[in-house]
Each structure stands twice: as structure tokens, then as C-alpha cells.
């Protein structure tokens, strides 16, 4: 799958799940308390460095978790080797591109 041992992968999948889960709970709670934010509130939230760092961590964890997830899901349904390789390549590329894109949005967007 990813070259790592399966035990390590098993743990990383759960650790990343907890990080993403806590972040999702925070955002859902904020939405429930505040409702739809105004632009000023949205800007202020992402100007907070702790929230920004947590967002970056959660997004990277999301893409890692998603990559491992889909790499396990594809072979259960796709038996054709060519299609499977294409899906695996798409998954790796998408996860890497998402991660770079997220870092750009959070830290380099002018």
C-alpha cells in the first residue's frame, strides 16, 4: 500500500482520524453557535494563528487519511490492473496537490 508496515498505517489512520474529528467538531460547534459567519468574522477566524495552524494540521491529516482510505477501497472493487494503477496514481497526485494547495491558501494567499 504505502510501503509502511500495516500496524503503523493502522495507527496513523486512527491518529489522523482523531485530529480531523476534533477539528470537524470545532467547526461544527462554531457554525451551530454563530450561524453563517460574516466576511469580517471569517477573516478574523483565519487571522488567528492557532486556528490557522489547526486548520493546516487538520487538512494535511485529512488528505493523508483520505489517501490511505481510497488506496484500500479501490482494490476491493476494481479488478482491472490498468484502471487500478490509474486510480492509485490519481489518489497520490490528488492528495499531494490538495496538501500543497491548502498550504498555499492558508499561508501564501495575498
Amino acid at each position: 500500500m504505502s510501503g509502511k508496515s500495516f500496524t503503523q498505517e493502522w495507527w496513523l489512520q486512527r491518529i489522523s482520524a482523531v485530529i480531523v474529528g476534533l477539528y470537524a467538531l470545532l467547526v461544527i460547534a462554531l457554525l451551530l453557535i454563530n450561524g453563517t459567519p460574516s466576511y469580517a468574522q471569517w477573516q478574523a477566524l483565519f487571522a488567528n494563528n492557532a486556528f490557522k495552524a489547526f486548520t493546516a494540521l487538520a487538512l494535511i491529516a485529512t488528505f493523508y487519511h483520505g489517501l490511505i482510505g481510497v488506496l484500500h477501497v479501490w482494490p476491493d472493487y476494481v479488478k482491472n490492473a490498468m484502471v487500478r494503477s490509474a486510480l492509485n496514481a490519481y489518489s497520490w497526485l490528488a492528495a499531494a496537490a490538495y496538501a500543497l494547495w491548502a498550504v498555499y491558501i492558508l499561508f501564501f494567499l495575498k
Binding site: 482520524a17 474529528g21 470537524a24 453563517t36 477573516q43 488528505f63 494567499l109
Partner: protein
């Protein structure tokens, strides 16, 4: 052995190597539905990032981008369905994930609790999704 008994035995499935085409012959129990929905929501979120990341970028770039995002989300019903779907996917995948990790700890593995917790995951995620959507619209 009479002709009739032979025919009776013929009606029974001979082997259980289930392929995609045979799936409609089997009733998937709620536990199985919970499992496949966990997979579908996971894949949907992985693929759906291609929509969510540009929306995050737009919303943070400028006030006009932020307003454009709101218009896209609430302005047409296809976007509404897709985004409420992705919201449900996050909430379902999270709650089903908690159940998964409880089962990793060897709890809720007997048939009765596996069934009731699978049902509870569906109810809880629909309720929480409805609550968030209601809060965003109100």
C-alpha cells in the same frame, strides 16, 4: 430419489462466491449499509475536496469572493444538494468513525449492539446535519 427432490435441491445456491451481478439477490443488513456508506462518504469527501478547496480560497481572498461563494452555495439547488451532501458526509463519516474505533476496542461487536449502533449512527448524522443546515439557513 424422486424427480421433485432433485429439483428442490437445484434451487438452492450452489456456491457463495458473490460477484457484483449477484448483489441484488442479497439483502444487505443495516450493519453492512453503515459500512458501505462509511466508504462512500469517505471517497466522496476525498473527491469533493476539489470543490471545497477553491471555495475556501475564494472565501478568504476577498469580500466579493466570500459573497460569490455564498451565492454559489445558496443560489442554485445543485450546489445546495452537493454541499449539504458533503456536510452529511463529514458528519456521517465522523460519527461512524467513532463507532468504528469503539469496535476497534472490542466493544459493540455482538449482533444486537452492532445493529443498534449502526442504526444510531444514521439517526444521529441525519439529525446533526439537519441542525447545522437549519442554523446556517436561519
Amino acid at each position: 430419489m424422486s424427480e421433485q427432490t432433485l429439483q428442490k435441491t437445484k434451487q438452492r445456491p450452489v456456491y457463495r462466491n458473490i460477484g457484483m451481478g449477484d448483489l441484488s439477490n442479497y439483502r444487505l443488513p443495516i450493519i453492512g449499509v453503515a459500512s458501505i456508506v462509511h466508504r462512500i462518504t469517505g471517497v466522496a469527501l476525498f473527491v469533493g475536496m476539489i470543490l471545497l478547496l477553491p471555495m475556501l480560497q475564494m472565501s478568504l481572498k476577498s469580500e466579493s469572493g466570500f459573497e460569490a461563494c455564498r451565492t454559489i452555495v445558496w443560489g442554485n439547488w445543485i450546489a445546495k444538494i452537493v454541499l449539504i451532501g458533503l456536510l452529511f458526509a463529514v458528519i456521517y463519516h465522523l460519527i461512524a468513525g467513532v463507532r468504528h474505533m469503539i469496535q476497534d476496542a472490542n466493544k459493540w461487536l455482538d449482533l444486537a449492539s452492532a445493529r443498534s449502533s449502526a442504526t444510531a449512527v444514521f439517526f444521529a448524522s441525519v439529525v446533526v446535519t439537519a441542525l447545522v443546515v437549519w442554523r446556517l439557513v436561519a
